[in-house]
Symmetry: C2
Subunit: 435 residues, 2 copies
């Protein structure tokens, strides 16, 4: 029987591992691959904020896993949820109780945001991780403008037109920038009683600057650019409470309440629950946010046929600090693990994983981004063009890269965001509480 | 104070009325318009089946009403639900109890499908009227294939791969044709255990042919074309039961059960509930399906400032049979009523409404359609090209007409349907019962 690799999770890590397991040299066995995901699609997460802010459609940034891997006959895609693991018995266990045995297992189920122990904030401050999250955020933002247009109460109107984004990392910056553009450019002339440009967009960050892992001068540039889009940046500000009426913030000694109806959460990291499952089955250590601490070859200590990659893994070998939870790390780890499995089957032993850092970038809005590529630091138009180019490049494998590009061009030149649709619940239906 | 026109409903009728109320001749008063809709978007309904079958994104066929009417300063768009009417007092009443007064009122809230008194079938046989309906149908169809790939039970697999479409009018034909294409072309090579081409698609019609209002030879052509796409057509067949396990059909004397997991409803017409409200307020007559029987100028008898247009109106003056519930009728009635209001304000009296029938067409699939234009009858490739051309033409006013065209071209040449996304509920979550 050909060796069987099970991959759990169809994000960047899992998908790139599956793709890399296609190739085999003459004489090597064909590797059977089963890719399991709860969803039927791969999501191009770096552009998810564009769906949340009505610039792109879900179909532009997500593609069915089966479609992507259509031609790769050795891969079986299964839409199912892995809830447990039998590491000594080499099997994963699905939600319906069935077992799937493996020779090698790759776990790549990623991470989500963390409310730092305040999970009750989730209903009023949704985060951005899935298509459903993005559509819910889009719905709330658009509905707030609709309700502001209808209300007769000036205080209520002001609260409806106050949008709070919590977390000054790349996602928070992207969301706040896009909300600023929406208020000042997209919705111009759309309303008769309110002026969307009067909307307040507040970006809150706990430390003393935006984009903390970036060099301070790029943080300063980012703050300058996002402020120009009409966003108010509050640094050194901690959030101590979130309700459906206001956000409570604390700056040093003083505490105040910001009345608002739309709060978006873009802070914290929390590893997928499969991290804990791996720990209980293998005794592997987890880090503070629940990521599995992996060996130099990305396997779990004592289980050389069990790999954890991407946002669920904490890799700290030969690097100054653990690798960040970004798409390029996951992609490279996916490819690397495929190579490790192939070498093991051939009886050779692979070198340790090394991350090739090609730089990092964050976008803020129209023609505004910051980028760090090696020793180069870019900001403004050129950084934005690089961002655009690189993101389009990596949409490869998506049929609709060209359509996304055209949609972008269209949005850019016409200042529109065409996908301003409110679906699922209307103006008379209350917000759903809890997840 | 400038005269105030309230329009209820932002479909083809309401939107075209609002647009036509922009123009005014020198010396005429500016007409203030309030357009009220429960949703924030206008929906290009003729292409809704493309969203249900994963060919287009919601954003391709829907556009925010505010965006469309952005430049028309005399129009105020309100996202709200009209639940009642005070016809003698010239006011509409919203769900929150507030009243909006009018000088002229245009009601254009359309119609939906009818389960002929079997509303309990709705949960297992969703119809196609809103974006939510389309996304739910897409989800069910895609999930059925996913579950078929996972099940070990051959009878269950067969039921999962049986898709029943009830109603052989244009919508039923479009849905069945698209499901046939999906099974035979789009999903080819996507699965490893099932062959999507083995899916059974069954189209059920009560009378003796598809497309009953069309000439019999076009009905025969349509049946031939849809059969070629792998669809089984059952005519003279009545549906007597729908559950989540099977559809019960009766042909003449015999009755049988078709085991299936996906049933789509494309039969019957039921006017919007505002028809009954109009009746109780004005004493207007309703027809069998609840449409308001209107005067030659589309007003309600005894209320010359209250108009009902589009699918909610039954217009039978100077025509052989009442006008059909299609987009061109609604568009022309919207424009006509705007003209009537302008003439009334000028003190002149308008001629009665006359429908200019430019023909009708139904599409079946790739390069397959039937059309009747005056005495011309077309079928096949040429009819399909006409259908494509006319639908793109009427997407005017939508920013993204070009993008829809490109998406279509892409789908056509690559046989793909890129928007095959399952959102909202996953594979372990049961179907929602009831609406």
């Amino acid at each position: 029987m050909d060796p069987h690799v099970v991959i759990v999770g169809g994000g960047f890590g899992g998908l790139y591992a599956a793709k890399a397991l296609l190739k085999h040299k003459p004489g090597e066995p064909t590797i059977r691959v089963t890719l399991i995901d709860r969803r039927n699609h791969h999501l191009f997460q770096p552009l998810l904020y564009q769906v949340a802010t009505a610039g792109l459609s879900p179909g532009n940034i997500a593609a069915p896993l089966r479609g992507i891997l259509r031609g790769q006959k050795n891969v079986q895609v299964l839409m199912a949820e892995v809830v447990n693991l039998d590491a000594p018995g080499n099997a994963v266990i699905l939600a319906d109780g069935s077992r799937i045995g493996y020779d090698y297992l790759i776990i790549a189920t990623g991470a989500s945001h963390s409310y730092f122990g305040n999970d009750q904030w989730a209903a009023d401050a949704p985060g951005l991780k899935t298509l459903e999250d993005a559509l819910e955020i889009r719905r709330r933002v658009l509905l707030a403008y609709e309700q502001a247009e209808r209300t007769e109460d000036p205080a209520e109107r002001e609260a409806l037109l106050t949008f709070v984004v919590i977390g000054g990392g790349p996602t928070g910056l992207e969301l706040a920038g896009a909300l600023g553009e929406m208020a000042h450019l997209t919705l111009r002339e759309n309303f008769r009683r309110i002026d969307p440009a009067e909307a307040k967009i507040i970006l809150i960050e706990g430390v003393d600057r935006l984009l903390p892992p970036y060099p301070p001068d790029l943080s300063a540039k980012a703050e300058e650019m996002v402020t120009r889009l009409g966003v108010t940046v509050l640094t050194k500000t901690r959030v101590t409470g979130v309700t459906d009426r206001y956000v409570t913030v604390s700056t040093g000694e003083s505490t105040r309440e910001i009345p608002c109806r739309t709060v978006l959460w873009a802070a914290g990291v929390q590893a997928s629950p499969l991290g804990k499952v791996v720990q209980s089955q293998t005794g592997a250590e987890l880090d503070r946010v629940g990521r599995v601490i992996v060996e130099p070859d990305l396997s779990v200590v004592g289980f050389p046929n069990l790999f954890v990659i991407g946002d669920l893994a904490q890799f700290a070998h030969g690097v100054e600090r653990p690798l960040p939870g970004v798409a390029p790390v996951a992609m490279q780890q996916g490819k690397y693990v495929a190579e490790v499995i192939r070498e093991r089957l051939a009886g050779t032993s692979p070198e340790m994983f090394r991350y090739h850092d090609k730089g990092s970038m964050a976008t803020i809005g129209r023609a505004a981004a910051v980028a760090q590529i090696g020793r180069w630091k870019l900001s403004g138009y050129l950084a934005w063009l690089s961002w655009l180019f690189i993101h389009l490049l990596y949409l490869a494998g998506f049929d609709n890269r060209m359509l996304v590009f055209l949609q972008w061009l269209w949005n850019y030149f016409t200042y529109t965001r065409g996908v301003r649709l409110i679906v699922n619940r209307g103006i008379n239906e209350p917000r759903e509480k809890g997840k």
